[in-house]
């Protein structure tokens, strides 16, 4: 077991290194610089700024330097957006906001999506199934800014009778601020989870052990939730693992629509501003988080299915 985790850790570090290199090179290949704004500074100022932050050196040298600092846990400082503030402290400030909204969004997505998927599988071909299919297809194909904007129009603006929630996210307002962002952020994963659960459930309801369970005289509830669902969970877990990372690190669109000061929105802004250290920092953070979630998923597989052995490479 220890060997397994060591191997995973090694692979994770390698992946992060790769992510860091690729991001660094791509980022530098994009034209523009952090110093561009309405008032372009003079040549001498630019040269001085570049020299101060090491941007005058060739890209490979910069990359080596960055990686060296990274090894010491130093993510560098923001060049533009919050000038000279350490990137790590920015992430520490922004991530909890994104994570809170994301966690709530995923929570409802799973708690609603999985049972709906079961229901659809059980009522296969009936009206309930058709209705759920339409809802889920809409949810999957509708971009989140449409969902978010529609919710804003109905529940936070236009119609006075339905104006329950604030337009702009404000943590001091308590739960009211969270409802709309969480709903719109979780809608897509909810629909996707429901679809996945449905197809996995149909697959597992067709297995012979379900026939055995019925022949034993078990009740439908037990057959579905004990025998079929546990086997159907694996594809759902596979999807949810990386989705947790993405959602917790912030849906950029939803954070923009509701002006949530979260990590996702900040990352995209940093790209627009060519704030190189912030781009690197957030990317590496999200990449690490995804890698971590994948490890969690692999461990959850083992919990859901005793046949899976972690150490024997998927045998």
């Amino acid at each position: 077991m220890g060997k397994y985790f060591l191997k995973r850790l090694g692979m994770a570090l390698l992946t992060i290194l790769l992510v860091a290199c690729v991001t660094f090179l791509l980022m530098n290949a994009v034209p523009g610089s952090p110093w561009l704004s309405e008032k372009t500074p003079s040549e001498t100022t630019l040269a001085a700024l570049n020299a101060k932050y090491g941007l005058d050196q060739p890209v490979p040298v910069q990359l080596m330097k960055y990686l060296q600092n990274l090894l010491h846990g130093d993510f560098g400082v923001s060049l533009k957006m919050q000038k000279n503030r350490a990137v790590s402290s920015i992430i520490i400030e922004m991530f909890p906001i994104s994570a809170k909204v994301g966690a709530l969004a995923l929570l409802w997505a799973v708690l609603v999506g999985v049972p709906l998927g079961c229901l659809a599988a059980f009522k296969r071909g009936k009206l309930t199934d058709s209705i759920l299919r339409v809802v889920c297809t809409v949810g999957i194909s509708m971009p989140s800014f449409v969902v978010a904007s529609a919710l804003l129009v109905v529940f936070a603006g236009g119609m006075a009778t339905f104006k329950f929630f604030p337009t702009i996210f404000d943590a001091s307002l308590g739960w009211r601020s969270y409802v709309l962002p969480c709903f719109s952020l979780g809608f897509y994963p909810m629909c996707y989870t429901a679809r996945q659960t449905r197809s996995a459930m149909l697959d597992s309801l067709n297995q012979e052990y379900i026939k055995t369970a019925r022949a034993k005289g078990l009740k439908n509830k037990k057959i579905i939730f004990k025998h079929a669902l546990r086997n159907a969970l694996i594809p759902v877990i596979t999807y949810l693992g990386p989705q947790v990372a993405f959602t917790l690190c912030g849906g950029f669109v939803v954070e923009s629509v509701f002006s949530i000061p979260g990590l996702g929105r900040y990352m995209v802004q940093s790209i627009q501003n060519r704030d190189y250290p912030v781009i690197m920092g957030t990317t590496i953070f999200i990449a690490s988080f995804i890698i971590l979630m994948n490890l969690v998923v692999d461990i959850l597989y083992k919990v859901a299915d005793p046949r899976i052995s972690l150490t024997k490479g998927g045998e």
Partner: protein
């Protein structure tokens, strides 16, 4: 007399018809079969793939999968009309009074729960009052009864840690844990090695004697039938073509299909030059069954009438009946003499 007869009758199936309503049309999987099964009797149901032998058994258990439906006939179990059960009554009936074991023990146990869990669950589904500890004790007794050693450890293991034969033993233990009066075994040995087959058969014979339950043994292996059954129903294309005590079927077969089956079976006492004789032709297309006797197109003694009309059952011996125009002919000749 008649009352005594009623007392010994465990299961009575009358003119059972099962159809599958597929997009291509109605498939009459079971086309009106009748038989009785007494307490403690073992009946073999023999037939080739697609002859409807499994579907007939599933309808007793109420396990027919859509688009399959019982469209006629009756099933009476201990005087109760099984087809009239409500879904709840059916759930209570399954597993407690009738159990079923299946062909492939490798896929019939849920891979993500321990053997103990699945055994206990089978018991507690019908005995709500039994405590968990008692249920576990009983599950371990059952496992010992079907010949599994080291039960305490085995209870905590998962199906993938069991071999095929051991899993079938578990399935049998699970089927018998509620003391059913009838066990339906749907090709329980087909997926197993020959040596394991023999062990499982011996086990089933042994358990049958101990518990006195009735067994419906579905198989396409006549050797198995000779070994374990009291009587045999031979099915072809959804119909029982011949039915009778096991000795009669083996030594005095009357239906050409039964004869064909017996000829195509390897025998220990055969001479080395004797060849196995296959039944020529292909099974019936169940979507477009022939008008007359379904076996007629493959039958070596096919007559004109066979292609036009389904023969009636003729008593050819004690409790031995056969649906063949040849038998009708013989009977008429016999009466003339």
């Amino acid at each position: 007399m008649s009352e005594q007869k009623n007392n010994t009758k465990l299961l009575e199936v009358k003119d059972l018809r099962v159809s599958f309503f597929t997009p291509a049309g109605e498939v009459k999987a079971v086309g009106g079969i009748s038989y009785d099964l007494n307490y403690g009797e073992v009946m073999g149901v023999v037939g080739e793939s697609g002859s409807g032998k499994s579907q007939e058994a599933y309808s007793i258990m109420g396990l027919l999968q859509s688009p399959g439906k019982v469209i006629g006939g009756s099933i009476t179990f201990e005087g109760e009309d099984v087809l009239a059960f409500s879904p709840n009554e059916m759930t209570a009936f399954r597993g407690s009074k009738v159990s079923m074991i299946f062909q492939n023990p490798m896929t019939c146990l849920n891979p993500v729960y321990t053997i103990g869990n699945q055994l206990v669950e089978a018991l507690r589904a019908h005995d709500k009052k039994i405590s968990k500890a008692d249920a576990e004790k009983r599950a371990m007794e059952m496992m010992e009864m079907v010949g599994i050693n080291n039960v305490e450890k085995r209870m905590k293991q998962y199906p993938h840690e069991f071999s095929g034969g051991m899993r079938q033993r578990v399935m049998i233990a699970m089927g018998l844990i509620c003391h059913p009066k009838l066990l339906i075994a749907d090709e329980p040995t087909t997926a197993l090695d020959v040596t394991i087959q023999a062990q499982i058969l011996d086990l089933m014979k042994d358990l049958q004697k101990k518990t006195g339950m009735g067994i419906i043994f579905i198989t396409h292996n006549l050797g198995v039938v000779a070994d374990i059954c009291d009587k045999v129903s031979v099915m072809y294309a959804g119909k029982i073509v011949e039915q009778g005590p096991v000795d009669d079927i083996f030594y005095k077969p009357t239906h050409p299909y039964t004869k064909g089956l017996l000829r195509s079976m390897p025998r220990v006492d055969a001479q080395s030059y004797e060849r196995l004789i296959p039944i020529e032709g292909t099974p019936v297309d169940m979507l477009n069954p022939p008008e007359g006797c379904p076996f007629a197109p493959r039958c070596e003694s096919c007559m004109k009438i066979c292609l036009k009309k389904m023969p009636p059952y003729v008593e050819v011996g004690e409790n031995h009946r056969s649906a063949c125009w040849l038998c009708v002919q013989d009977q008429i000749k016999g009466e003339e003499k």
